[in-house]
Symmetry: C2
Subunit: 228 residues, 2 copies
């Protein structure tokens, strides 16, 4: 079992605010898990009762809408924490998390880490800062969803993916989403997403090879996303 004190991943999230002693305690109660592509980390309606610290891999966090379509609301990657909200309220999750590729995660039980929320103000403040930032971001997403066309949202999403993820050895964005996943991020029908991707490719803004996406013209995509 690896040790949190020596784990570099915590530097990327709120766990960096924990003291050495706290990390040692967390280390001894956490469990490491390997989650294969397509497997579920947690489901809607489930009590998560802890946080996941993502050591490797990517997962999509989504919510089923009333009309039966999944909407992806977050993509979580290496270094991110997942499930902080379960520490704060006792409600079941309203979201579902599924691995997009093979993942390595550590699960820290709620009862162990909640103490730190109560006792370590630095940790609390860091969680708070992250939440404030997520909230600001969520407001922006709401505005985009409400006001932008599907084409604008696709352009914005491609830029977001391009920023958030590394490039693979071919130079493509290093997350391989299905066309359906992409449609479920921007909130449209899979066919519409496919059509617009083809259009962007034809115009030379992107290139597509299977699930690989290459961003060719950032500026033009930005123009499209802002309605220029």
């Amino acid at each position: 079992m690896s040790k949190c004190e020596q784990c570099i991943v915590r530097q990327f999230n709120s766990l960096k605010a924990l003291t050495k002693d706290e990390l040692v305690r967390i280390s001894s109660c956490k469990t490491s898990k390997t989650i294969k592509k397509g497997e579920i980390l947690f489901e809607e309606g489930e009590h998560i009762n802890g946080v996941f610290c993502v050591k490797d891999g990517i997962c999509k966090v989504s919510k089923m809408s009333d009309n039966g379509r999944d909407q992806i609301v977050h993509l979580i990657k290496k270094g991110d924490l997942l499930g902080e909200r379960s520490l704060i309220n006792d409600e079941v999750s309203n979201l579902k998390a599924i691995a997009v590729n093979d993942m390595e995660v550590c699960f820290i039980p709620k009862e162990e880490i909640v103490r730190d929320l109560e006792k370590n103000p630095k940790f609390t403040m860091d969680i708070l800062k992250n939440m404030a930032s997520s909230l600001k971001n969520a407001d922006n997403v709401i505005v985009d969803m409400a006001q932008k066309t599907v084409k604008q949202r696709l352009a914005a999403t491609l830029l977001y993916l391009n920023n958030k993820f590394e490039k693979d050895t071919d130079g493509a964005i290093d997350v391989h989403l299905s066309r359906e996943d992409i449609a479920n991020i921007i909130g449209t029908a899979t066919e519409s997403a496919i059509r617009l991707l083809s259009e962007f490719k034809k115009k030379g803004l992107i290139n597509l090879k299977g699930k690989q996406v290459f961003i060719l013209d950032t500026q033009k995509l930005k123009d499209i996303s802002t309605g220029f």
Copy 2:
């Protein structure tokens, strides 16, 4: 100048977690303001540098989208706090707040209340709980915006208004929004909102008298909003 210790409004927000001493200090540095209908509390790009505690009235919090249309992301009413995020990060506001009717608010400067965030864990945790709850709510709004039709969103919005606000003496929802405001909540053109409101009225789900909205058939509206 009224005293926070004796103000009932704080019971409805995180200020209830402050101690008597803290409240006395806040009392002495806060400023009371009257804001008339249509006046601006703060603008996009402004440093708020404090929180507003709403003693009376309603305001709309919105963000201008790239294509030049305002999207209302929150409605704030008596008892609510506004601007908590300014306490946590030092960024300028990404939102604008305008009074929907005459308001009574107290403004508490950031430097005075930030101490309490640092020293009073109960206060911090209450802010944190609210943020977690707002975040959950924001996820739900994103899903609705992305997946629901305009008609579904209008039905959902009417139910939300009906829940959130009291009834006036006639039995109408006690917030008088323009058709444009309603359109800017659901993220559609004003004409579309008007057309659908007329349709709902024709079907007997609601009644309209000027800016008064009467909810007549809650169940039917719920069915519409969930795509039943």
